[in-house]
């Protein structure tokens, strides 16, 4: 069964094409990595898949539903861990999760138990009544993971989930993501620019650069096809050696211009 089906997905910001006719499929139970340098269009793609941004053209099916037609059904089936911080600092860890449980209509009788078991799962049960504003970056991330899993989604999206995290939290995160994938058969879709992560965690990798998918396959297949010995050299061969910082800021600038016009 397919969890995500994308065909000819395109997103333009003014003259800039952030995502250019991207097509791929993710099977149920897969851990799919979207690997690419900064500004390649990874976040834009994940935003479109999670109903946050509407595409310029193209079709997306997530969890069996066409995204553009049935946003609500898609939203029910997905969990998202955002690239940037998205908790309410003025609420406690428990309250943040409770708010989420209400939004996702988790039955009232199950809320407390579910929240506590998830907070236990991310080792934060003893801090449940502390304001998240006082938490460290890693702890906040763990609350976000618990929140993403609270409504038992079919597909979990993670946008650059390990940026700015220490090694311990990173390991913790991947260990748990793998465990959930195994135990609950949850489909995982994540973006990263970290080769090692993609290679170690993902069952399938799509390399994306300048808005286009260059190659899709397991890390072994990719190395074989590019005739390289490591994913890193395969990646560099595919995407070149230029530094991409400029692209990101150009995109951001464009977005800001667009926002102002609206």
């Amino acid at each position: 069964m397919t969890a995500i089906e994308v065909s000819n997905l395109t997103k333009k910001f003014g003259n800039l094409t952030a995502v250019d006719k991207v097509s791929f499929t993710v099977e149920k139970g897969e851990i799919f990595a979207f690997l690419g340098p900064n500004g390649a269009g990874k976040s834009t793609t994940i935003k479109m898949l999670t109903t946050m941004l509407s595409p310029t053209s193209g079709e997306m099916k997530v969890g069996g539903h066409v995204v553009s037609e049935n946003k609500s059904s898609v939203r029910e089936r997905i969990g998202v861990i955002f690239q940037d911080y998205s908790l309410d600092d003025d609420l406690t860890a428990y309250e943040n999760l409770y708010y989420h449980a209400m939004l996702y209509r988790v039955p009232k009788s199950e809320r407390k138990e579910k929240i506590e078991s998830l907070l236990k799962y991310v080792n934060l049960l003893d801090r449940k009544d502390d304001l998240v504003g006082k938490f460290s970056g890693g702890m906040k991330r763990r609350v976000e993971i618990a929140r993403g899993l609270l409504h038992s989604p079919e597909i979990l999206f993670l946008d650059e989930p390990t940026i700015g995290l220490d090694v311990q939290t990173r390991n913790f995160l991947w260990e748990h993501i793998r465990k959930i994938n195994r135990e609950k058969d949850m489909t995982i879709f994540f973006t990263t620019h970290n080769m090692e992560e993609a290679e170690k965690i993902a069952t399938k990798i799509a390399v994306i650069d300048k808005g286009r998918i260059i190659i899709t396959g397991t890390s072994k297949e990719i190395m074989k096809r590019t005739k390289t010995k490591s994913l890193e050299s395969a990646f560099l061969r595919l995407t070149g050696y230029d530094i991409r910082e400029e692209n990101v800021s150009a995109l951001e600038r464009l977005r800001n211009v667009r926002r102002m016009r609206r």
Partner: protein, 218 residues
């Protein structure tokens, strides 16, 4: 609060000499309305705040209809604004304000309806804005005129025709008038008209706000 003291004690004697009765009694419903108006429209800032700090995404990807997101936000905002209005009312008692206290529930309800309407207005505007800097401009060009041309501080029925027109299309005029019906004081329109105007605006703004909310992108 500052307005209450400055206008109350400053204009009060002039007002009374003109034979228009006790100015404090006239002013308090207007000042309550002002507290409600200012804090309600400012509730819109919380939306921009959430946008900039990422929390909005969490609510936007939730499988909840956009109208319930909007109404939920605005009910929350309206509650805090109503409390502010009630605080002003409380402070006005030692300054000599009296009203028919049996009407208090009606007054609170009016404050809430007015708060809800202006929070909807603030939130609808905020859904189209991205930075905090724009919001004070809106306060200056929209909220201040709405306040001054509403009959909150002085009667507006004798204004020249052109400005009179502005007061008639100003929602705040009906809001203040509604509060005066509830809290006592010289009213300009029938209560039914005030309530209808506010109700129609609430429905219209919910509709527009929902459309803007469904277009919100993170």
């Amino acid at each position: 609060m500052l307005f209450l003291l400055a206008f109350g004690f400053g204009f009060g004697p002039v007002f009374e000499q003109a034979g228009a009765g006790n100015y404090m009694q006239y002013l308090i419903p207007g000042i309550v309305g002002m507290a409600v108006l200012f804090s309600s429209v400012m509730n819109g800032v919380s939306l921009i705040w959430d946008k900039n700090f990422g929390f909005l995404k969490e609510t936007l990807i939730a499988p909840v209809s956009r109208i319930s997101l909007l109404i939920g936000r605005c009910l929350g905002g309206a509650t805090t604004s109503t409390i502010q209005g009630m605080l002003v009312l409380l402070i006005s008692i030692p300054l000599g304000f009296t009203m028919n206290w049996l009407m208090l529930p009606v007054a609170v309800l009016s404050m809430f309806a007015l708060s809800f309407m202006f929070t909807l207005l603030g939130t609808t505007i905020a859904s189209r804005l991205d930075d905090m800097q724009t919001f004070p401009t809106i306060m200056n060009f929209l909220v201040m005129p709405m306040f001054f041309l509403s009959g909150a501080l002085f009667p507006v029925s004798n204004f020249p025709a052109a400005i009179r027109m502005v007061t008639i299309i100003n929602p705040m005029t009906y809001g203040v008038d509604m509060l005066k019906h509830a809290m006592g004081g010289a009213t300009e329109f029938p209560a039914l008209l005030d309530v209808s105007v506010i109700a129609v605006l609430i429905i219209a703004l919910s509709f527009i706000g929902t459309r803007f909310f469904s277009r919100l992108e993170a």
